[in-house]
């Protein structure tokens, strides 16, 4: 492939183009845009990936198989990426776990369509084979422990099976000889993401014991059901847990009831609506990640609340004109005091002087 032959040359050129000391001769965003116009996969710094296949996993879940460009650094099973999409002029970032095993030339994201969800809806409705998506480098410490323990208990519900699936595929490729119990919980067989693949894997691989739980047929998953479905003896078991909040709370409670037989590693896919929107003026907790401070805010503008908590956010006009007080809201719901608009979008820019907390918040302050 010509692209491969040109690679060493390309790398040197890329280094030069990305070198900051060469500015203004190499205006990086301008060069990047030019490269992108020639080939959407080309970029000096961005990880971009072409959609090469779309697999319909269930009625509401699709796997996007991706071929990344050279900026992709590789990953560990269980890690996730932030996907950046632009919808009607606005860029959104959402986190998705990588569902394929590492090592191959392809990546996979398995996305469940959330009704009313902005990014998952867009991915399902708009993304076609050949489209190019922008990803962050992989991150996360929800990965297989090293060395591998002799017994693994994997518990997934809904789209929470995606990182577990990547781990399971890795274990299979490494010919893991221990014992795996894999619990997959969902509403009904039609909702089981990777259902048939899991069954085929369990049939061919004695190390894997698959436990499927369908709440519609078998009733809500609770502690007695867990007790019944999972092995009585959990000694030496390493737990790996991922799913919606309710499921994770349940498993945690049950695990501790069992005397916490081993480590229970977990990852939450928490969504923004999990913060209930509070009435105006109710007090909320604001976590500031940069200054590592926490303060309580009531109905006052966040700038005022932060100042009375002893923080000194940058500001100017205090009436919403100058944008000096701009801050990234990482999660939670705020009200714009000028327009009355209430917004829960994760990862958005707000003006502290005209925003009030309407739920617990996390700010990049």
């Amino acid at each position: 492939m010509t692209q491969a032959a040109l690679y060493p040359l390309g790398r040197a050129a890329r280094r030069a183009l990305a070198a900051s000391w060469l500015h203004p001769l190499n205006d990086t965003p301008a060069v990047d845009e030019l490269l992108g116009a020639i080939n959407p996969m080309w970029s000096l710094n961005d990880i971009r990936a072409r959609v090469v296949e779309v697999i319909l996993e269930t009625h509401d879940t699709r796997t996007f198989v991706l071929a990344p460009n050279r900026r992709w650094p590789g990953f560990q099973a269980g890690q996730h990426v932030a996907l950046e999409v632009e919808i009607d002029g606005v860029r959104h970032h959402r986190t998705y776990s990588l569902s394929a095993a590492p090592g191959g030339r392809r990546l996979a994201l398995t996305v469940k369509h959330q009704p009313g969800g902005r990014v998952s809806s867009w991915l399902h409705q708009r993304v076609r084979i050949g489209d190019v998506l922008k990803l962050s480098a992989p991150a996360g410490d929800f990965v297989l422990p090293e060395p591998l323990p002799s017994r693994l208990l994997m518990l997934g519900a809904g789209s929470g099976v995606t990182p577990l699936m990547s781990m399971l595929r890795t274990l299979r490729a490494r010919n893991y000889g221990g014992e795996i119990v894999f619990l997959h919980s969902c509403r009904q067989p039609a909702d089981a993401i990777f259902g048939s693949e899991l069954k085929a894997l369990a049939a061919a691989w004695p190390a894997l014991r698959l436990v499927m739980h369908y709440s519609q047929e078998q009733g809500r998953l609770d502690r007695t059901a867990l007790q019944r479905l999972l092995p009585a003896d959990l000694s030496g078991c390493h737990g790996l847990l991922c799913g919606p909040h309710g499921f994770m709370d349940l498993v945690n409670a049950w695990w501790h009831e069992r005397g916490a037989p081993g480590a229970l590693q977990q990852e939450s896919f928490s969504g923004p609506v999990l913060h209930a929107v509070a009435p105006a003026g109710a007090s909320s907790e604001v976590r500031c990640v940069r200054s590592e401070r926490v303060f309580t805010a009531a109905g006052q503008p966040l700038l005022v609340e932060a100042e009375s908590a002893g923080l000194r956010p940058k500001h100017g006009c205090r009436i919403g004109i100058c944008h000096s007080c701009q801050c990234r809201k990482l999660s939670g719901t705020v009200e714009n005091l000028l327009t009355g608009a209430v917004s829960s979008a994760p990862d958005e820019t707000i003006q502290l002087c005209i925003s009030a907390a309407r739920s617990d918040l996390t700010l990049d302050l």
Binding site: P24, L25, D27, P29, A30, E33, E86, D88, G89, V90, R91, H92, H93, G316, C317, I319, I321, C322, H323, S324, Q326, L338, T339, D347, E348, T349
Partner: protein
């Protein structure tokens, strides 16, 4: 008399609600169209800069030099006015695109972007035309209002005005250093050094780029490139100066005392923005080349709405003004420009009417 005194409190509140409605409507409609517009202008500005610099560097003969200067001046004007000024106002912050983020954008002139955000976005846009608070009233150099006290050095202001036009980017760059407060001894030596540092850093960067690096790259052709870069910067300076002066200083644009603006509501603030600003009439190209500051009134009402929307909302703003009997100052470029010049000359001499002492 200012409209704040003409209108009843209820009328001001109703006026505020109508202007708010215009703003909220545009806010709710922001999307693809706005991003497409600004990215297109960015592409044109970049293309124009590359074309201009190449013509200056590799061309020969006066025609290609003139063309190169025009293209480079065009790039600088677009970058400073339609892109830089507007992006730094936060007009595109809602896009979450780091290339369009107000707080990190840096522009192609000697003014440090962070100092600009302070002196312009905050000071000028909050305290618009309040004599003694808005330092853009005459830029601390010119006397543009009867409310400013007269000083003998104002006699020279036709000349200082000309110098300001030619060196406009330097005036803007040094604006946040607040020299008049330095001379008045209100700023300590340390504070002064502190304020000079970002300016000097940025000015050095610009000087190296336009007057050292690019000429040097042209080898023996360096005088041509150097002269071209000087000319392009001059053209941008004069153009930016003319547009900005026409935005606030034609006769009829009001200035205010601090007393008059005490306890303002947002409605009062809107009224001050409208009566303190003046529009320029022209076609779409003229509006883009002015960074839409030709819609100074709409810009002052909605500084953080994408500027290419101003033309769309202007008829509604004007109608609302007519309804409440608020003066909407608009005119062609030359009419407004001559009006500004008359004001420069007139205020060089002391005012006849007794003027209020300045705090």
């Amino acid at each position: 008399m200012t409209p704040r005194k003409q209108l009843s409190r209820e009328q001001v509140a109703a006026f505020q609600a109508e202007i708010d409605a215009v703003r909220n409507e545009v806010k709710a409609d922001l999307g693809e169209r706005d991003v497409a517009h600004i990215r297109r202008v960015i592409r044109i500005a970049r293309g124009s800069a590359v074309a201009g610099r190449s013509l200056l560097m590799f061309g020969f003969g006066p025609a290609s030099w003139l063309l190169g200067v025009t293209a480079l001046a065009n790039a600088k004007i677009l970058e400073n006015m339609e892109i830089g000024h507007n992006v730094m106002h936060g007009q595109y912050d809602w896009t979450n695109d780091p290339a369009l983020a107000s707080q990190t954008y840096e522009w192609d002139n000697v003014c440090d972007a962070e100092q600009w955000r302070h002196s312009h976005n905050f000071m000028h846009h909050s305290y618009t035309n309040i004599v003694g608070k808005d330092r853009d009233v005459g830029y601390g150099i010119l006397r543009m209002s009867d409310k400013q006290p007269w000083n003998p050095y104002h006699l020279f202001q036709p000349v200082s005005n000309l110098l300001l036009a030619l060196l406009f980017e330097w005036g803007v760059g040094l604006h946040d250093v607040e020299f008049e407060r330095v001379f008045a001894g209100k700023v300590s030596r340390e504070q002064f050094a502190e304020r000079m540092r970002p300016f000097l850093r940025k000015a050095r960067k610009q000087m190296v780029k336009d007057y050292l690096l690019f000429p040097a790259l042209a080898l023996w052709n360096w005088p041509r490139v150097l002269a071209g870069n000087v000319a392009a910067n001059l053209i941008r300076n004069v153009w930016a100066y003319a547009i900005i002066f026409c935005g606030h200083f034609p006769e009829g644009a009001e200035t205010f005392t601090e007393e008059e603006t005490r306890d303002e509501t947002r409605g009062d603030w809107y009224l001050r923005q409208i009566t303190g600003s003046a529009n320029l009439e022209g076609g779409p190209l003229f509006h883009i080349m002015s960074g839409h500051l030709s819609h100074q009134i709409e810009h002052h009402l909605f500084p953080d709405l994408p500027a290419h929307r101003y033309a769309e909302v202007a008829p509604r703003v004007r109608a609302i003004c007519e309804k409440y009997g608020v003066r909407y100052n608009t005119g062609g470029f030359w009419k407004q420009y001559f009006s500004v010049m008359r004001s420069v000359f007139r205020h060089a001499l002391p005012s006849r009417a007794p003027q209020p002492a300045l705090a």
